[in-house]
């Protein structure tokens, strides 16, 4: 059952091969057995999961089960879950039990899904390795000396390790796609506004987007069917009909125009990754696609622009964590200022504090025009690059990351080299378009991700292309050696 997909498990539940309670117990046992090593969960909720599973089985017995009824998943600990600790990977929220459900969580509950628990993540989603988590790093199931990527590293590790068949993630600069690539699974960052952000603890509001993570594109489509849609509680969510993403998975790729941005195949990139990505593209050609070169000339500006905009928004978004109403409060504050300083100084980790300081600086009087305003101008240029390229081709393809998973601790001392791991993913958040990472081979026995990027609301086309690729290849079926 380790490598079973959500689609296959749904089939098993439908045919009565196993019950949801049995299935849920299987994953709870896996978590018990393996998560001591992987540390992919911050909170496991066995009682709630089994109760949900039981309810799902009853629903099925009553003949009113839907596609997702009884399927276990996990939620990144950035999504608020009613009655369950929602820590966002931070000491600041270690004691925070959410009194409400995020819209995404509510959607899965409505669909009858079973929640196994909350997955590990970089603190407040700030990181590319899961090492900034207050709960310690999750580990890469392919090599437990390696990071699983981040910030949705717990979700990716749990799926790759067979501890859950699917999990939610969030992607602000690559936080779904990068860990998906490093752990050899499939993860989709939808168009900004496609999935509600309500109840997903904000890091950088104009970039954050929740999305699915699972073994296959088909599973991603099943999950996106549940997650996507307009939410009146999120002013930035878009009021557009949601298609059934599973219906177009088998469309032909004949005539699909693929663009390869030259900027994604140059610079500091592991040659094994380039080779695997090129092999994957030949596979698409075999499926009837045509390939041409495109240019995203402002790619080199994406990381500097991102590291102004995201910290600026974060510095404001994280102001609510002040020790006043919930979350961590320092012991015996002497006065208000002392309470603020020590609660925040002790409650936040190093990377979070670094970004709050960077963002505070960038928004300060006298610096706003030079930093924040300039970064917004660059953001428009980058967006225009994508619009231009996607007027010539249907899908842009390239590597998801420049390197495979790196060792724990390897990049900790050098934040900039850590930031550079997001070079191929980060610009897409600035542009707001959807992107998916699918497994396309290995480098040094570690998974390699192929990134596919489409125009606004091209999730159907991306999932279709990814699914067709997965029909022709078996990279996504590989599991870490036992």
């Amino acid at each position: 059952m380790l490598d079973k997909t959500l689609a296959e498990l749904a089939q098993g539940l439908a045919t009565g091969e196993f019950s949801s309670v049995e299935l849920t117990q299987h994953y709870l046992d896996r978590i018990n057995a393996e998560d001591g090593t992987l540390n992919s969960f911050i909170t496991v909720t066995p009682e709630q999961a089994l109760a949900q599973a039981e309810a799902a089985d009853q629903l099925r017995a009553a003949g009113s089960a839907g596609t997702f009824t009884g399927l276990p998943i996990a939620h990144k600990d950035i999504f608020c879950t009613q009655g369950v600790r929602t820590s966002c990977g931070s000491k600041m929220l270690d004691n925070f039990v959410s009194p409400y459900n995020a819209t995404v969580v509510e959607h899965f509950n409505q669909a009858g899904a079973v929640s196994l628990g909350k997955t590990n993540m970089d603190e407040f989603a700030m990181g590319s390795s899961n090492e900034s988590s207050f709960y310690g790093p999750a580990r890469n199931p392919w090599n437990t000396d390696c990071v699983p990527g981040g910030s949705s590293g717990g979700s990716a590790a749990a799926i790759a390790g067979g501890l859950t068949p699917g999990a939610t993630g969030s992607d602000t600069g690559g936080s779904i796609r990068q860990p998906a690539a490093l752990c050899g699974i499939t993860g989709l960052k939808p168009t900004y506004g496609r999935v509600s952000r309500y109840g997903m603890i904000a890091y950088a509001s104009s970039l954050d987007q929740g999305g699915p993570m699972a073994r296959t594109a088909e599973d991603n489509a099943m999950m996106l069917n549940v997650m996507a849609g307009f939410d009146p509680k999120d002013s930035t969510s878009l009021d557009r009909p949601v298609p059934d993403y599973t219906l177009t998975l088998n469309d032909s790729l004949k005539g699909l125009k693929i663009g390869l941005p030259k900027e994604f195949f140059s610079g500091e990139i592991d040659p094994q990754i380039t080779t695997q990505v090129q092999n994957a593209i030949r596979e698409f050609e075999a499926l009837g696609a045509t390939v041409q070169e495109v240019s995203l000339p402002n790619t080199h500006l994406a990381i500097p622009a991102y590291y102004i905009i995201a910290p600026a928004e974060a510095s404001s978004n994280l102001s609510r964590f002040d020790g006043v109403r919930y979350g961590y409060r320092c012991e015996d504050p002497t006065d208000l200022e002392d309470m603020y300083k020590r609660s925040r100084g002790e409650g936040f980790g190093e990377e979070v504090k670094r970004r709050i300081m960077v963002g505070t600086y960038a928004l300060s009087e006298g610096f706003y025009d030079a930093y924040y305003k300039k970064a917004l101008q660059i953001r428009r240029l980058i967006q225009q690059d994508y619009v231009n390229a996607l007027s010539e081709v249907d899908i842009i393809m390239g590597p998801t990351t420049p390197h495979p998973a790196f060792k724990l601790g390897e990049k900790n001392a050098d934040p900039i080299s850590m930031y550079m791991e997001d070079i191929f993913t980060i610009s897409l958040n600035l542009a707001g378009m959807p992107g998916i990472s699918v497994p396309c081979g290995f480098a040094n026995q570690l998974p390699v991700g192929l990134q596919m990027i489409g125009n606004y609301f091209a999730e159907e086309r991306l999932l279709n292309a990814a699914h067709q690729f997965q029909q022709a290849t078996d990279w996504h079926k590989q599991t870490p050696g036992q």
């Binding site: 002013s235 928004e313 109403r325 928004l363």
Partner: protein, 485 residues
């Protein structure tokens, strides 16, 4: 050299929406602490704001009422600072692109001249909660019921030159927002409050002096006192060779003085930037025209109409046109009684007196406009005298019935029987021989004034019920006969 004050005002008007500007929680005043604060108002992790379109409509209505530019694209910005009653650590406001741009209001000065005061802008923002320092020893309580209540911040140009002008401006804005029905105007509850920016300079100078800002003053009287006090304080300092520190000051109504809160150096860097959780508000001509169509008659227009339609004095027209409820009451009385001048006198006189004495809003007046009109009809048809009418009115106020019922039950009907009046007049003349002699011996042109004495005596004898016109006529006739005889 003569000093001149330069005053600019920032008025915070709470908009009378049912729910908050970014959440569905109620805005009602006076609930138990924190019972009207939802997840969004508490700034729980993950919560997001959703803009209340009713606040937009109200802001646009105000913009149209002061003939202002309307911001067809307005944007919410975050104003970042830490304070315990500011749950998100930022206030959502509009800095760069406000919903209302430049406009103006006209105020009437004491000498009757009209002065135009510029409105720089008006923008939407959310109110903060309240810190309660007194209830808990050594601790501060936080009540977030008010957090997220929509505010319209109305910023004036530094066009005012005296405390009186400032108060006239504040009253004008108060009258406009209450007439529009977008603010209840309740200053005691903080629904309408004012920050006063004051500086002084030598008259004729172009440059502004350093200014101070006195915050959150919540009555017309305190505004006047705070500004007057601040002008004197600044002039005293400057005349002693001192320097005015640019700072925020707090007006203490108990001590009637302002004191320093924080200086410019201690001021926050608010790090404004566009709120990424809210989309820009984009409106078009259709929307603006729809709102325009709902504009009610405003005080200036109504005053002009009152002057024209009811031939009121300028002062009466100004007072009676200022507030919708008052205007409506007056017009109903005037139309019922068929006498606008009499209606104006009664509404501004007896009615206002009792409303003030009982601290009652005109909406809650125990005597309805129709009832007061009915009373005035009885004066006009000589059923009662004006003096008796006051007695009847007080009985009506006390709930003793309509004018006719009170007149009937108390037997207050005017005496118009000329025989009865004549005998009272004769009695008074007979009983006051010294005054009669004075009258007879006086120059004819002085006699008119002297008749008042006899009037009073006769009215007293009739318990106020004698028809004053008849009494006067008879007195004059009889006294003149004595004089000429």
């Amino acid at each position: 050299m003569e000093w001149e004050a330069v005053i600019g005002l920032e008025i915070h008007a709470q908009l009378a929406t049912k729910s908050k500007i970014f959440s569905g929680a109620s805005t009602a005043f006076g609930a138990e602490p924190n019972t009207q604060a939802c997840a969004v108002d508490l700034a729980l992790p993950g919560t997001l704001p959703v803009f209340n379109g009713e606040a937009l409509r109200m802001a646009v209505l105000f913009g149209l009422a002061i003939d202002a530019e309307i911001g067809y694209t307005s944007v919410f910005d975050r104003k970042n600072y830490f304070y315990p009653d500011l749950p998100k650590g930022y206030q959502t406001s509009q800095l760069f692109h406000p919903i209302v741009g430049t406009g103006y209001v006209d105020i009437t000065l004491d000498d009757g001249t009209i002065k135009r005061v510029g409105v720089t802008r008006a923008h939407l923002e959310e109110d903060a909660g309240k810190s309660l320092h007194e209830e808990f020893p050594n601790m501060t309580g936080i009540d977030l019921n008010r957090a997220g209540t929509p505010l319209l911040e109305i910023v004036s140009e530094p066009d005012m030159r005296s405390a009186e002008e400032a108060v006239a401006y504040v009253k004008k804005i108060h009258a406009i927002v209450t007439n529009l029905g977008i603010c209840d105007g309740n200053m005691a509850e903080g629904s309408f409050r004012c920050d006063c920016n004051v500086s002084v300079r030598y008259k004729g100078e172009e440059e502004f002096g350093n200014r101070t800002e006195s915050k959150n003053i919540n009555s017309f009287r305190f505004i006047e006192k705070a500004i007057k006090g601040e002008i004197i304080r600044q002039i005293d300092i400057l005349e002693d060779g001192g320097h005015i520190t640019q700072e925020t000051r707090l007006y203490d109504a108990n001590k009637d003085e302002t004191r320093s809160m924080r200086s410019k150096e201690e001021a926050n860097d608010y790090r404004y930037f566009p709120c990424p959780d809210l989309l820009p508000i984009v409106i078009d001509d259709d929307y603006v025209n729809q709102v325009r169509a709902t504009l009610p008659e405003l005080p200036d227009a109504r005053k002009a109409r009152f002057l024209e339609q009811y031939k009121l004095s300028d002062y009466d027209a100004m007072v009676l046109s200022a507030y919708r409820d008052l205007s409506h009451y007056f017009e109903t009385v005037a139309n019922t009684a068929g006498d606008a001048k009499l209606a104006a006198n009664w509404v501004m006189g007896e009615l206002s007196k009792l409303l003030n004495q009982n601290d009652t809003d005109i909406k809650d007046s125990p005597v309805s406009a129709e009832q007061l009109g009915g009373l005035l009809l009885r004066i006009k048809d000589n059923t009662i005298t004006g003096k008796i009418a006051k007695q009847v009115f007080e009985a009506m106020w006390a709930g003793e019935g309509s004018a006719d019922e009170v007149i009937e039950s108390k037997g207050l009907k005017q005496v118009t029987d000329s025989g009865a009046i004549e005998s009272m007049v004769d009695d008074v003349i007979a009983a006051n021989q010294p005054q009669v002699d004075q009258y007879v011996n006086a120059e004819p042109d002085k006699r008119g004034k002297m008749i008042g004495f006899f009037m009073g005596k006769v009215m007293q004898a009739s318990q106020g019920k004698a028809n004053p016109g008849q009494v006067q006529g008879l007195l004059k006739q009889k006294l003149d006969a004595l004089a000429d005889g």
